[in-house]
């Protein structure tokens, strides 16, 4: 029996990835958990494993294609056995019977045990809370019958089973949060499975008056490449559901909500007489998905999406804003939107630091690495933060709290062919300069190769950016939200000074401190930078402060 291997969830908020490379080809035998492809997401390149063993029948995408989470990547032959036993706790590997819209056919089971998974519930919806079971073990269910009610952040929806059978067991309890792709129930003896039943079901409230006899047409028509319809509708449903006079909103606002995929009926209007305003819709889109967990989330934020129309006939090329570039764009925009930035700049005399580094070169080489200025700067930064802890903090806007962090995870901005990424040196205060040096070299290389894991780019408490190696005297870097500060370092230059009546050349290096003005006052930042530069100018001070 053929098994479809789908692109699993790749991380929170990741909905698609670019296929970088196939690691298998048709005819290959693969083992369970064997990587089949490399996929570049906006966070990192990941290897996608096959959840089951089998023989590769065909590859559904070409390198360079953008693959949506839940799309079938390959089909495997003879890979059935593992599917049923795949534990429910492995949502990262939705397998054959996941009734995602892309699934061409539900597995036609002949007395076999089948997993019924939580299907895609709508654009951007990754999980839902189980409100109520509509079936119990032992019940016979028909294809398309609703088995459970699931509350998403958009609406309560009824989850149908794509195939018929007898309910064997329920995998969740009411109140539990179920991820899209998780097995909800197992069915036995799916003899009545209707292969022609459409896999995708409309969200609750969508039109469902299509007679059963019409389904064959739908399936047939849908498999043909319908060029435009897929964006707005699945085979039978419309998302978001049609507003049926439930809320008060102007026609333009209603249209905006649909375009943004926001179910306007689920919004509480803040306008007069409960009108849902344009701002309500914008903030529902901007704030909702992240609101649940990430302390970094910014509720109520809206990012405008102005159009750009060039002069007619001008030579222009349009490419999709996707992947890392899109993520960078979003992050930068969010940061500038949320944080009132200000930057203070100063110059440090770095003869002593240069000399120190020179003197340590050989030692470092013996230990198989080399020392750059960055780890030294990081150590000076950590020591200065101990004096000024607000530089290592975050603002939890949702809770209205300042979060002081007692750990030091230092991000550093890395320039890669794909764009800016920020790898993180975790617990940098507990690592030696040599250890940090090694880690920086490793992370930088993997950043350039697009091989960083998402984890390695998360959780920075403050970031250092070193654009000086390329050029520029001063810059105003953008803070990596939810951090509250970013230290910029620039190139080392020689500068003439007059000392004791003598013209002398000294080495100087510029530093900038861009800070979140909500938390950090100008004077504090000035003091911070001065204290930091004092350490840079006198590395010995660092030594005596080492814990």
């Amino acid at each position: 029996m053929a098994t479809e291997v789908k692109l699993p969830e790749l991380g929170e908020g990741v909905t698609e990835g670019e296929l970088v490379k196939w690691l298998v080809k048709p005819g290959d035998s693969v083992k369970a958990d064997q990587p089949i492809a490399e996929v570049l997401t906006d966070k990192a390149t990941v290897e996608v494993p096959s959840p089951v063993a089998g023989t590769v029948k065909d590859l559904k995408f070409k390198a360079g294609d953008v693959v949506k989470v839940g799309s079938t990547m390959i089909t495997l032959e003879g890979g059935a056995s593992a599917a049923a036993s795949a534990p429910a706790s492995k949502p990262a590997a939705p397998t054959a019977s996941a009734p995602a819209p892309q699934a061409a056919k539900p597995a036609a089971g002949g007395g076999k045990v089948q997993d019924i998974k939580l299907p895609e519930l709508g654009e951007g919806v990754t999980e839902g809370e189980l409100v109520k079971w509509l079936v119990k073990p032992g019940d016979s269910v028909k294809a398309d019958q609703a088995i459970a009610e699931v509350l998403t952040d958009k609406a309560t929806v009824e989850v149908p089973t794509p195939v018929a059978g007898v309910v064997k067991d329920l995998k969740f309890k009411t109140g539990e949060v179920v991820k899209v792709g998780s097995t909800m129930i197992t069915l036995e003896g799916g003899a009545g499975a209707a292969p022609s039943a459409p896999a995708a079901q409309p969200p609750a409230g969508a039109q469902r008056e299509v007679p059963a006899s019409a389904h064959a047409n739908f399936a047939a028509a849908h498999s043909a490449p319908a060029q435009a319809s897929s964006a707005a509708t699945t085979a039978t449903g419309i998302f978001p559901p049609v507003a049926d006079s439930k809320v008060l909103a102007t026609p333009a606002t209603r249209r905006l909500a649909r375009e943004m995929g926001v179910d306007i009926n689920s919004l509480g209007g803040t306008g007069l007489a409960g009108r849902v305003t344009r701002e309500d819709v914008l903030s529902a889109k901007g704030g909702a998905p992240a609101a649940a967990k990430a302390p970094a989330s910014v509720p109520g934020m809206s990012i405008p999406k102005p159009a750009y129309q060039g002069p007619a006939g001008a030579a222009e090329e349009r490419v999709p804003l996707i992947g890392i570039r899109k993520k960078i764009a979003e992050n930068m925009q969010r940061s500038k939107h949320v944080i009132p930035h200000f930057t203070i700049m100063d110059e440090a005399k770095v003869d002593a630091m240069v000399a120190m580094r020179e003197s340590l070169k050989e030692h470092a080489e013996k230990h198989g690495t080399k020392i750059t200025y960055l780890p030294i700067v990081m150590k000076a930064l950590i020591a200065t933060i101990r004096e000024f802890p607000m530089f290592n903090a975050s603002i939890d806007d949702a809770a209205g709290e300042i979060v002081y962090k007692k750990y030091f995870n230092l991000g550093f901005a890395a320039d890669t062919p794909n764009g800016l990424v920020v790898p993180v040196i975790k617990n940098a205060d507990q690592k030696t300069i040599l250890e940090i040096s090694k880690e920086i070299l490793d992370l930088s290389k993997r950043a350039r190769d697009g091989k960083l894991k998402p984890d390695e780019m998360k959780g920075a408490t403050i970031t250092v950016t070193n654009i000086g190696s390329i050029g520029g005297t001063y810059a105003t870097p953008v803070i990596n939200h939810p951090e509250v500060a970013i230290l910029g370092m620039y190139k080392i230059d020689e500068k003439p000074v007059i000392k004791d009546g003598q013209l002398k050349a000294i080495k100087v290096m510029n530093y900038t401190m861009t800070a979140d003005h909500r938390l950090i006052d100008g004077a504090v930042a000035a003091r911070f930078l001065a204290a930091f530069i004092a350490r840079i100018e006198n590395p010995g001070k660092l030594l005596v402060e080492l814990v």
Binding site: A206, Q207, E209, V210, P211, S213, A214, N217, F218, A221, H222, A224, A226, Q227, A228, S229, A231, A232, T233, A235, I238, V242, A243, D244, S245, L248, A249, T250, P251, R254, R255, R258, E259, G261, G271, L272, A273, G274, R275
Partner: protein, 474 residues
């Protein structure tokens, strides 16, 4: 070799031609198939010609009844040259239909005259005098409209036994007309025929005119005026049959179990329209049609067949040209990948009787059924409106219904001069979620009929100026 298009629209009425133009604007290679005339029923045998006739007879009526009071003297009688009237009416239709032709051409839409029938969900045949062609398309939009319902014993010949089509083409003024059906089409035609001097008898099966179509208060105003003008109305009356007699026709009418005879020269049957869901061989494409003959569509006006859409009369109530046009734009945009759905809060309805009736939003009964238990209702007669008085057209009123809790406008019903034009403000207000204060506080120009809108909003709040409202709210 079959011709191939991105989008093929079947029917060039107010739904179809609009859909075709929008599709072309969006860059699709588009064709529109039309078996009869560009602009459909609306432009050729419906809205436009009837409004031409109504306008002309309205002026005639004013000349006959108002001029003298206004001091405008006409020497001798005003006579009607019916042939010229019909010629002028036809020139209006031709102008409009020609305009559609120009637009289609200007946007590069291929116009194919002929009758379309589906072969399957990807192909149609088009039969015309030139033969039969096969046309393929990625998407089809079915906009085949509706046709007048025929009743047993009254087969249309469009000369003596007519639908609206025939009635709009009379080239002499008929002496006596029996109108079967007191709905809006029957009453619009009755209104203007009466003004031309025709004896009109309306045979209505229900106990009121325009029953279930408009707010009963509004219908009453029209009913009163029709009767005053001399239109004979029979209620609870059922037309059983007709026979040709020496000087015209005798229509047998059953009324309260007894039979009566209505003598007339022409019979007009306007008992409603039925969707053309039985045409164009929809079955071959697998398109599902409901038991009333409407094509089943979803909120994007997609049929059960993924690449086929349906709009206008054939896609469901209300059977109104402006609803069809709105759907035409919608569907073209859905095809182009935009996330559009039909979610209009209200489709306004207009009846061009004398006076006109227009409504938008809910009636009182509908509002209550929808759970609005406490309502604000305001009603201001046109007798209190300076412009209406100066026009000598004071019959009628504006009525507004709002939610008492939020003051949000739920429905507007107008009967009176220019009701058809005034209703647009109500549509906008409902779509925008306006409160009564929004309308009352918007300065309306004086002296206009539109002031009645502002005044009625004030009336719902209990403080209209030009009518006496007591007791004043605290």
């Amino acid at each position: 070799m079959a011709q191939t298009f991105d989008v093929v629209v079947i029917g060039a009425g107010p739904g179809g031609y609009v859909a075709a133009i929008r599709a072309a604007q969006l860059g699709f290679k588009t064709a529109v198939i039309e078996r009869e005339f560009l602009g459909g029923v609306c432009l050729n045998v419906g809205c436009i010609p009837s409004k031409a006739m109504i306008t002309a007879t309205h002026l005639l009526h004013k000349a006959q009844h108002n001029f003298k009071d206004m001091g405008l003297m006409i020497k001798g009688d005003i006579t009607v040259d019916m042939k010229q009237l019909v010629t002028w009416k036809q020139s209006v239709c031709d102008k409009m239909s020609g305009g559609v032709k120009q637009l289609l051409k200007g946007y590069g839409v291929t116009h194919i005259p002929g009758e379309a029938n589906f072969k399957n969900s990807k192909e149609i045949t088009v039969k015309s005098s030139a033969g039969e062609d096969t046309i393929q398309a990625k998407y089809f939009i079915v906009a085949t409209g509706s046709r007048p319902i025929e009743i047993p014993g009254f087969k249309f010949d469009e000369k003596d036994i007519c639908s609206s089509t025939g009635a709009l083409a009379f080239d002499t003024i008929p002496k006596r007309v029996a109108v079967i059906g007191g709905g809006y089409i029957g009453l619009e035609i009755s209104s203007y025929l009466r003004k031309l001097g025709t004896e009109v008898t309306v045979i209505e099966a229900q106990s009121a005119l325009l029953a279930g179509v408009v707010d009963p208060d509004c219908a009453q105003v029209v009913e009163r005026k029709l009767k005053k003008a001399g239109v004979n109305v029979m209620y609870g009356a059922k037309a059983k049959g007709q026979k040709k007699v020496k000087d015209g026709y005798e229509v047998t009418v059953e009324i309260n179990g007894k039979e009566e005879v209505v003598k007339c020269d022409k019979i007009l049957v306007t008992v409603g329209r039925r969707p053309n869901g039985d045409q164009a061989n929809l079955k071959a494409a697998g398109i599902a049609v409901d038991e009333r003959g409407f094509i089943k569509v979803d909120a994007q006006r997609r049929t059960n067949v993924q690449n086929i859409f349906a709009i206008g009369d054939v896609a469901g109530q209300p059977m109104l040209a402006h609803k069809a046009s709105h759907e035409g734009v919608l569907v073209a945009e859905v095809i182009s990948g935009q996330n559009r759905v039909y979610d209009a809060k209200t489709v306004p309805a207009v009846v061009f009787t004398d006076p006109e009736i227009a409504s938008a939003g809910m009636t009182e009964a509908e509002a209550k059924a929808k759970g609005f238990t406490d309502l604000l209702i305001g009603k201001v007669p046109f007798g209190a409106n300076g412009r209406a008085v100066s026009m000598m057209e004071t019959d009628g009123f504006v009525k507004m219904i709002a939610d008492k809790k939020t003051h949000v406008l739920l429905g507007v019903h107008i009967v009176g001069p220019e009701a058809s034009n005034l209703i647009s403000e109500a549509v906008l207000a409902i779509e925008m979620g306006a409160r009564m204060e929004d309308i009352a506080l918007s300065i309306h120009p004086h002296p206009t009929l539109g002031e009645a809108m502002m005044e009625t909003a004030e009336a719902t709040l209990g403080h209209a100026i030009h009518i006496i409202q007591k007791p004043l709210p605290k």
